[in-house]
Symmetry: C2
């Protein structure tokens, strides 16, 4: 969908690279510019046996790669010309590369989006932002006192997607008004905004301290249950219909009605299902514990109850997913890699990440410069 | 930035509402259409003392709200005309509302984005998707056997942002080619794509089972440390420079060099810092345990080490954040609420969420219809 959109990226790790890749997977031409030898994320774990970073290759699928020495005058000129031609720059670099003001000289309507740590530019990463916003102290087992870090760098992911939104919004405005943009996107603000959007900060301002509720769904009925065969399922009843269906499927409808009477509770209301979650879960747990995954599946089939078994990454049937396309990734080999989760109805193809500097010659030549000459001078590689 | 963009939303809970709100906060006119009395998320927790949903008001800031009976022919006509006028529809509803095919009749170049659970439309929610992708079994304390749910509905958040990207991308194409779009965005695919983009699925395909590492940063050195004053900090050394700075600030440089010699390790490399994380953390822990937060702050000031104290939602200084604007939210009162984390340089304002049906009259009148007549017939409210 984004054919004709061109973006230059000076990026590393997750947020900024994901922003560019999200647009590349929708058809944009995204050029990642790295310093000679690569940026700080070149060898970020996980690694393939060859030492190739699975994070780097995962975050840069479908981009072109050029490596330039940003300390040399000629290298900075290459960057400035690429930025001027593309008209859009996405970066999380702090220093080292030409600034917005410098890049704008050759392209007055430049759009540049700077991913930052804190507002104002102080450094911060997903793991530190997560700690200081508040999630780790309400995550994890109820009887666990210490914070629990997330494994998914959720703020980086959200930040990368906000960056993609910001670039498209700015480009839409430019196409109508001719106006460029210098956007800033602090990772900290992404996390703070999200905590606010979800109502957590409003709750805090109203004086409510969010409690740690383990794997229970907050404000409704949902929890994990152990099965008889060693498997485990997550079960969620978001609505009254889901909850009634769960009670009926498990043969608990009568018992739950009786419990409601005893407790003076109204289980048609979210809050009462939540307040009495432990009692309800205790009633349901034996039903799950007496069944295999297949039996649970049969009993819940055709019901509105939301549920899923817990799985490991190694359990997933990637061949069954239309999202996961087989690619030949340099440094990794033949693997299944995701296309965009946005399904346009067209065939979904994943494109491998480049090798670092794979497109240096093609890109430098495209500027009318001699790549052999620049390489000999150590300006590109 | 998105002045002139119009979107109609039939949405509930998090992903689809967040997608629309993300665009509303950048200037789009977003109309949320609900059934009479509201959708299933009207009373979703957390709640204000008045019973107003802090989740609903958090997810619908800056939108307009109209309530329509989608079962009546006249109600469906209202929806179809609003969709035709806006030209863009965002929904996670399954049935009940006019379909893409019906809506397209009055607007052949309609863009409709359908947020789904599973590809193909089977229901799934954040909590079930998270279970079946694999994160809960690698999250949480190392000695904890059960899965650990995330508190942040990260997949919903990512899905909502992908939806915003998808709508902007489709609208960009339409403005150039006249082509409409019927996009599908399964929550499951958002999670699967993200696990793939981060390298977790490539790692799994290479036969590596991701281990549970508690609060350690995977593939580098980072962990939480308890302080002497009861506080706790998250500390991250993503690069060699960060790590050297950490060792110097804590007076451990000599000891760590000696440890490297003893272990035949090279702590300038991510992998060795990760493999020996427990030994390194054990060396550093007493330094942190002997200091207050203020002392740690002074020792790390001016160093590249990334770190932050753990905080509760109730600890955050919202008044200090330019992102958090004070609003008067109907049903809640005066609170600070986030604007867009995308900082365009303009003043950042948050706009309250509407009351359910607040704009019914204005919107219905805008179609040339008589709201009093439709209200009397029970078509709108």
């Amino acid at each position: 969908m984004l054919e004709g959109l061109r973006i230059v990226e000076m990026s590393s790790f997750v947020a900024a690279p994901l922003g560019g890749m999200t647009l590349a997977q929708l058809g944009a031409d995204v050029v990642r510019i790295d310093p000679l030898g690569g940026a700080a994320d070149t060898a970020r774990w996980p690694l393939a046996p060859s030492g190739t970073s699975l994070l780097w290759t995962g975050m840069n699928k479908g981009k072109r790669s050029v490596t330039v020495d940003p300390r040399s005058a000629e290298g900075r000129e290459v960057v400035a010309r690429l930025a001027a031609e593309a008209g859009i720059v996405l970066t999380n670099a702090v220093g080292g590369w030409p600034s917005y003001e410098e890049l704008r000289e050759a392209r007055p309507d430049l759009i540049l989006l700077q991913v930052e740590g804190k507002p104002g530019g102080a450094p911060a990463v997903d793991y530190t932002v997560n700690a200081e916003i508040g999630f780790p102290l309400v995550t994890g087992p109820v009887d666990h006192a210490a914070p629990v870090a997330h494994v998914l760098p959720a703020w980086d992911v959200a930040c990368g997607l906000y960056a993609a939104v910001g670039l498209l919004a700015a480009e839409r405005r430019r196409s109508r008004t001719g106006e460029g943009a210098h956007l800033r996107l602090p990772l900290y603000d992404v996390a703070l905004a999200t905590a606010g959007n979800l109502g957590l900060l409003a709750e805090a301002q109203l004086g409510v301290e969010r409690e740690r509720v383990g794997n229970h769904l907050y404000g409704g009925f949902g929890r994990d249950f152990a099965l008889g065969d060693g498997d485990r399922v997550m079960v969620v009843a978001l609505t009254r219909r889901h909850f009634n269906d769960l009670c009926e499927a498990t043969g608990m409808a009568g018992t739950v009605t009786e419990l409601a009477r005893l407790l003076h509770a109204d289980f048609s209301v979210d809050g009462d299902r939540y307040r009495h979650r432990e009692a309800l879960a205790a009633l349901l747990a034996p039903w799950f514990a007496a069944r295999t995954l297949a039996e649970v599946g049969r009993a819940l089939e055709g019901r509105s109850v939301l549920w899923a078994p817990y799985r490991r990454f190694t359990d997933l049937d990637l061949a069954a997913s239309a999202l996961m396309d087989e690619i030949d990734q340099p440094g990794v080999g033949r693997i299944r890699a995701p296309a965009s989760p946005l399904d346009t109805g067209a065939e979904r193809r994943a494109v491998p990440a480049p090798r670092l500097g794979e497109h240096t010659d093609e890109i430098v030549s495209g500027l009318g410069l001699d790549p052999a000459d620049l390489r000999a001078k150590g300006v590109v590689a």
